[in-house]
Subunit: 236 residues, 2 copies
């Protein structure tokens, strides 16, 4: 848990630091450097980022609102461990939101938007090629968020952002096959549809892509061993 500091190095400006801490933690969760069930002690996190517990608490509350961490009263904050049921719900919500949003995005996408998407996909491929699986996963989620933003729907984008985050936890818990490459092509096809302004196709592709993602999970069994802290240390 000691390689989380990512952004924490310089605290040159005195901007709202809680946001920074929350973002760092969110990123760490997205990249699977923090796994489900890990305890986030206020003192510990505070020391890592060089801030007071006040800031850490604010950050953890934010993450709690995004359902990324569970705060148990008088116990502490833990990275969330979505149940099978929650996992299904997350993907059902995505199925409701994302296809139609992809269609809107296709109707509005500008060449600049397409360029950004292609760049993110390229980064994702590069990360995968270099074995930085965590970053690849995060960028893969970023792609979905980009589409929502292209659709020019800030509210829906916010929801999708939360869902993508939670999906990252779901994947950490229920992922079946480790060769995650399959979905890259789905993203490529989607970008193509967006570039051509083909709304209905984009909607269909997104719907199928989400179904593929869901079917690549193993949601029939128990939480795939909810790792406790000692287990995390024991594996080392």
């Amino acid at each position: 848990m000691n390689e989380v500091r990512t952004i924490a190095g310089k605290n040159g400006r005195r901007a709202p630091r809680a946001r920074e801490v929350a973002d760092s933690l969110t990123r760490a969760i997205h990249e699977h450097r923090l796994g489900p069930g890990m305890k986030l002690s206020e003192d510990e996190v505070g020391e890592i980022f060089g801030v007071s517990r006040t800031i850490v608490r604010a950050a953890l509350q934010q993450l709690s609102h995004d359902q990324l961490v569970m705060i148990e009263p008088h116990r502490g904050a833990f990275v969330a461990q979505p149940s099978v049921r929650e996992a299904r719900e997350v993907f059902e919500a995505r199925a409701l939101l994302e296809p139609r949003t992809a269609r809107s995005a296709a109707e509005r996408a500008t060449p600049a938007d397409i360029a950004i998407l292609r760049r993110h996909i390229a980064e994702e491929h590069a990360a995968l090629a270099e074995g930085r699986d965590g970053q690849a996963l995060r960028l893969s989620g970023q792609f979905h968020l980009d589409i929502a933003r292209i659709a020019d729907q800030a509210t829906i984008a916010e929801f999708i952002g939360q869902l993508v985050s939670r999906s990252s936890l779901v994947i950490a818990l229920y992922w079946r096959r480790r060769n995650a490459l399959c979905e890259s092509h789905a993203h490529d096809a989607l970008v193509k549809a967006l570039a051509e302004g083909d709304g209905p196709l984009a909607e269909d592709l997104m719907k199928g892509h989400l179904l593929d993602l869901l079917s690549s999970l193993d949601l029939r069994e128990a939480p795939a061993q909810p790792r406790s802290l000692k287990e995390a240390l024991g594996g080392e």
Copy 2:
């Protein structure tokens, strides 16, 4: 602004108080006792509820995440004033989520669920009859949230809860005709469809209901005079 204390009276238990404060404020906003643009000073709110600024800050941050209040750095927290654009986004998101959710609810609703819905509708009518418009509005929103819960979709229910809250602000800003009765019948029809387990009908009714709601707003003009604090006081 001094009739907000609703729940604050007795602080007998020492449960997580930030949640209580947040809930009270949320309720006050739902009932239009706190209007868009009102300033929520930390000291003031803290004094009203008899808690420290620490608690108030946590509560305000929660509301900020729900987009119910805007926190401007070094300025303070204000009840949000959704722009025309945000107002549209809120209803577009609802249009994506609620109809399908209503369909699911129709397929799962138990007699007990229907009873709860009918009870809430009855309360809503009663509140309207007695001129307690604010509570009627809140209960009207509660109805939509109930449906999401009946659909057994906690995640989507959470989103709809946020959207309903924001809708309350939108209504405060852009409501055109004051005779709010029209929608009651829509709710009655919806309950009927749910009771009969008619999913497609429920979906259609919900879609139409949301369109009606949207069309009863005046979203063509500027923020319908974003009431400043002095205006709020001047009207009294």
